[in-house]
Amino acid sequence: MSKVWDKWKGTKWKKEIDVYDFIINNYTQYSGDASFLQPATERTKKVLAKLEKLLAKEMKKGVVGIDVNKTATINSHKAGYLDKKNDIIVGLQAEKPLVRLVSPFSGLKCVKNACKAYNYKVSDHVLSQFQYRTTHNDGVFRVYSQLMRRARHSGVITGLPDAYSRGRIIGDYRRVALYGIDRLIEQKKIDKAALYERGLTEENIQLIEDVQKQIEGLEATKQMAKEYGYDISKPATNAKEAIQWLYFGYLAAIKEQTGAANSIGRISTFLDIYIERDLKNGVLTESEAQELIDDFVIKLRMVRHLRTPEYNEIFAGDPTWVTMSEAGLTKDGRHMVTKTSYRVLNTLYNLKSSAEPNITILWSKYLPQNYKDFCAKVSIDTDSIQYENDDLMRERFGDDYGIACCVSAMRIGKQMQFFGARCNIAKLLLMALNGGYDEVKGDLVTEKAGKIFDEGLLNYDEVIKAYKKYSKMIAKLYVDTLNCIHYMHDKYAYERLMMALHDTDVDRLMAFGICGLSVLTDSLSAIKYAKVYARKDERGLITHFDVEGDYPKYGNDDDRVDEIAQWIVKDFYKNLKSHNCYRHATPTLSVLTITSNVAYGKKTGDTPDGRKKGEPFAPGANPMHGRDQSGALASLNSVSKLDYDVCRDGISNTFSIIPTALGKKLPEQISNLTNLIDGYFARNAQHLNVNVLNREMLIDAMNHPKKYPNLTIRVSGYAVNFNKLNREQQQEVINRTFHDKM
């Protein structure tokens, strides 16, 4: 047994790979306040200044650089540093900071386009390597059917990871620190040997090959660490090593996987055990502990992937979703807040606010009030954290799950997901009305042309009947498409290291999604409660609707329409569930878009709710802009009615507010925000993205109103949409709102 484990409690984790057992036996709860936190050290400030300079350069040029000469793998690049003398936690993807790597395993075309967009060219060396290598993208298009191509082309199924890497897999990077690479390899070798006992079916042969790839990935990671002068074959012996080992695991994984969201998991309570021990032993001070976390977070903020401009159009702001899941409770009701939970939040002060890493609070009503208050304060000050309902997820995912990307929960090291983008259900309705034709492009999407609805008054029952028919059809196609994608991704772009940091017998989820929920809900409500007349264009397709009378709108806590939304998600999930998923995955569904709702709206024609062609959808499960007219809580209540058990991949809700609408002074704002989150989650809602708008954002909203269609300014007694104010009034709001801080 490793000597570094001597004083730690528990037995199970020492015998088998079980990080959770280690945590539960050894972590130190912290219920106090934030007063112990330390500011950034001079060293941190110096390194940060260096990074900020590079970020400014990146902002100007789009990319700092692209290394087009090598195909990125775990060992492809030599050691890189932000500041060799001052880095504490070391390791970069490329030899130079912020330089992006070329990793064509998932798709060469995407890589070529991205390079071209920034005036780079993939080197002949890399091109020649891929002359004889099939990429994931090649594989998928070999097997895509005509129908799949049509659905993809029309955008009714959209954002599919068929040309780039799928992401959303969280390696249990803690294992690297706790056990060292050698022990992990040893376990994988045992697992591999045991697999032969099961009989060599196609399924088992695939898994055996996977495990061999995993072992190779682990070996490569050890080599990569050696480049930096570290031997990570054995367990980490102190806090600095624990962070460094863990980060090496993550770094190796993302060097060859460029997926949209490569999240880092639930790590702070784990790391705190090492920090606590070092503090107790007097080998680390609080300032040094914070410095370690600060430097680690600096590295996480430097994660870069090569993206095409089209990708950036959908996901504004070059996000990497290095999601870090914090706090939560144990199964037996102990909170898992440690001092490092605070130190992580403190990076938003020490290093200034940032979207990455994507700090996600697993919120329970039983978290210590001190921690809740500090989270709320950080939200108000930095606008950089999101909240998810631990009381809801813990029951379903246990107490060692983490969030991938934005809202996708999975058991760390035990569950993975096959990411599956989303179906545009608003467009699906238009397809149903048009007998399978795409209302924008005019092409037939389905196999056979169906009946196009007559012009004139739409009958609710007939519309529902048609929608159900097309929804079933598309759900099947959607499952088939994802099966193709993930079969090929496993075959040609397997995440060998991420999966090495999972149990060999992993539980798989297949994450489907929908977008346009509020548009479809309001459209069906309009047809049911008002009079909607369909109008055809010169092609004979229904492309316009006249709405007569009013109808209940989603977002006002009105059960008449909220029940329609509930039915839509339930019905769609039921359709998905009736098909078999690749590798026995369990289907899950998300109602999630972050910024892509704008792009999907562009591809969708007029809808019966009165929305015009090209107008953006509301994000995620949010009600449509300006239609929630009963105040914020009514809007929250509407969203909270969606059943998490049919949307296990998450229900995203974005809540925007200016600080003064949360209360006059900071203590009131904090207390109101914590009560608001408690209240929302008491209704079994899953996610709340809290957007406390600051002065700069309001000025930005004044200059770019389209970016903030739903920005409501609340002053005593009434609410107004910020965009509807004239410039003078907006200026007044800005001056007033932030008057106290001026």
Partner: protein, 244 residues
């Protein structure tokens, strides 16, 4: 009795943090007996576009937000003038209290106090009341109401030991001076039950409503409030005694 079971409502905002302590559901009732020049809800004055609701309907709607209110929050009846529908509000408050939701009202207190109102104010956590102007003349000139009535209302609240949170809108050239606010302070000093006095800057954001409604806005040419001066006045005059 059936008549009193029904209220006339302008609108409901399910989330406010500025109409009492904590998170508040706010019911804006229809109808007002004053015509204040600084009113930002002139749409509540008349009875047009009124939503009719029974006590049960309104209580059932408001009770859906109980889990958000925490220990400080609750429901605020505002307006318009909520005391013009005192019987309805009383019944709502009684029902809301039964299910553990505490309530307050935002009033100008410019009404004759009857038994219903007396019973109502006693059932509230505290009363938020406007102290609009410190002299009869100004009060009438700017609201068409009478200071004496509000003073009488405050007397009764003092006698019943109901806590009061007073509010005054500060308007350029009308009451934005130290000497003027001292007149208010003199009045307030007679009321030990006032635990908070809050000054609100005149907001022009509601001015658009006057144009929409075709109502004359007497303050339309009012100059902007000097915010640094307002801050000084706030520091000098505002107070809040924490144990409500």
């Amino acid at each position: 009795m059936t008549k009193c079971n029904i209220g006339q409502i302008n609108s409901i905002d399910t989330f406010s943090t500025l109409d009492g302590y904590g998170i508040r559901g706010v019911v804006f009732l229809k109808g007002c007996n004053l015509r204040c020049n600084c009113c930002h809800n002139p749409e509540t004055w008349g009875s047009d576009k009124s939503i009719t609701m029974t006590v049960e309907e309104l209580v059932s709607k408001l009770s859906r937000y109980k889990m958000y209110y925490g220990t400080d929050g609750g429901v605020t009846f505002s307006g318009g003038e909520p005391l013009l529908q005192a019987e309805f509000v009383l019944q709502c408050v009684a029902k809301l209290r039964e299910i553990g939701i505490s309530c307050t009202i935002e009033t100008a207190g410019n009404v004759e106090v009857n038994d219903t109102i007396l019973q109502l104010v006693k059932s509230l956590d505290y009363v938020i009341c406007d102290l609009k102007y410190p002299t009869e003349q100004e009060y009438y000139a700017n609201t068409l109401g009478s200071l004496a009535k509000t003073a009488k209302f405050l007397d009764i609240l003092r006698d019943c030991k109901v806590g009061v949170w007073l509010r005054t809108v500060v308007i350029p050239d009308i009451n934005d001076s130290e000497s003027k606010l001292k007149e208010y302070a003199d009045i307030i000093s007679q009321y030990p039950n006032v635990f908070r006095w809050e000054l609100l800057p005149l907001s022009k954001l509601g001015f658009g409503k006057y144009i929409e409604l075709g109502i004359e806005n007497k303050l339309r040419n009012c100059r902007d409030l000097d915010m640094s001066k307002f801050d000084r006045l706030k520091k000098q005059f505002e107070f809040e005694i924490k144990s409500k």
